[in-house]
Symmetry: C2
Subunit: 252 residues, 2 copies
């Protein structure tokens, strides 16, 4: 006792890294006293993710998670210091480990695009990740694995190491933000006709005096139909970013 914590890093992130380290040594754990644990971090996180996938992050309460596991609410606090810790663990687990080995093959541009798409798909599979309030840069083991892959691709460019880091956050952020846009096109439920309602509502409420360009755009039906939730929409921004990086690669 009496020893102060050296780092002031939020405990959830530390927990995630400790769990990732423990995951490697499968059965090598030393025998611990006390009753055989009925709960485990993995089981808790898995249950929480199950609820979040089905009903959204708002539905994830410690009571709900405990109920899903058949234990008491307060038992969770033996494995997690606070709910925020659990959310960080959930984020990390949702940033699933990429299935195969690093793609490596192909041009750096294609490799980056592939990773961007994977990150994008990941957020579409677990949309609640985007509901986690402001969480800063990627910090958990699995999140940084994506960064590592992008760095591998960027090593084939002339970008400085510093710029490589910036490119990583640029692409990661783009994939994330674009998934967020696709998430809730104002109308909560439906997908395709959700966008219809979105544009319909906006067109009905934007006046030409204040929003002349928007109104002119919406006058043409062809422009009202998608707002960032089609594959082409995602590819558009991705191509712009990659083109910008390519220019930097050429001109130094």
């Amino acid at each position: 006792m009496g020893e102060q914590h050296r780092t002031r890093t939020p405990s959830g992130i530390e927990l995630a890294w400790r769990a990732a380290r423990t995951r490697g040594e499968s059965g090598t754990g030393e025998a611990r006293s006390g009753p055989r644990p009925a709960l485990s971090l993995e089981r808790i996180v898995a249950a929480a993710i199950g609820i979040a996938d089905r009903e959204g992050l708002a539905a994830v309460s410690l009571a709900r998670v405990a109920a899903a596991l058949g234990s008491a609410t307060t038992s969770l606090y033996r494995h997690v210091r606070a709910k925020d810790d659990l959310v960080v663990l959930m984020r990390d687990a949702a940033a699933a480990p990429p299935s195969g080995p690093p793609p490596e093959a192909g041009h750096w541009r294609a490799a980056l695009a592939a990773v961007a798409w994977q990150i994008h798909d990941l957020h579409r599979r677990h949309p609640w990740v985007l509901s986690v309030p402001a969480s800063g840069p990627p910090s958990t083991p699995n999140e940084l694995l994506w960064g590592e892959r992008m760095l591998a691709a960027l090593a084939h460019t002339a970008l400085t190491p510093h710029d490589q880091l910036r490119a990583v956050t640029l692409i990661y952020g783009y994939a994330r933000e674009q998934a967020r846009l696709a998430l809730d096109p104002v109308v909560a439920g439906a997908g395709a006709d959700g966008a219809r309602d979105y544009f319909g509502f906006l067109a009905s409420v934007m006046t030409p005096d204040r929003y002349p360009r928007f109104c002119r755009l919406f006058a043409d039906e062809a422009n009202t139909g998608s707002i960032g939730h089609t594959a082409e929409d995602f590819q558009f921004g991705l191509d712009r970013i990659l083109a910008g990086l390519a220019e930097l690669d050429r001109d130094g």
Copy 2:
């Protein structure tokens, strides 16, 4: 009674547009019966933003807002259907109306960059906006004012109307996401040395077997120091995006 709402748009956004329309006709309101209102939407939203600016979005409870206004908690429900409505109103108010008239002057690229910086600064002034859980594309009057300005700049390019829309969301999302990265460099409080702690912690926990590129990068002190919260970091991604758009402008 009995009439169904035609649009399923979340009421908070509708409220924001109605309030924006009412804001124009200052004293023209028809006389309404009932006691003279002590509260108003503007006062409520202003009080809520004050709390959020000072203590973060988590500190904004209806009780706190009511206390700041000297009224009872339940009185707020006369002006707002639910807390979510209030949050949308707050978002819109925080997306402050740009001070002067549209810049208009200069190259389209410079104009876009100026708007991007303004959006970025806005989110740094009201960081809690980034804590609002997944809110979809810009939808409120003030948010779309920024889009309108960007469209004005993009009108000087050869981009198709559809691509102009995509470029708007691309830049808006970038400014937003970059502000989010700068928000919480893992360590909650400090700014400059917060990044130090961030890199220090990561370097202490990433192993060369799984994160070889990161480890090699962090071996050079020059690369550990900023992660997206300096002006140069923001400009980097912005320049990549604008270069990508310029290429599209040239090559069609």
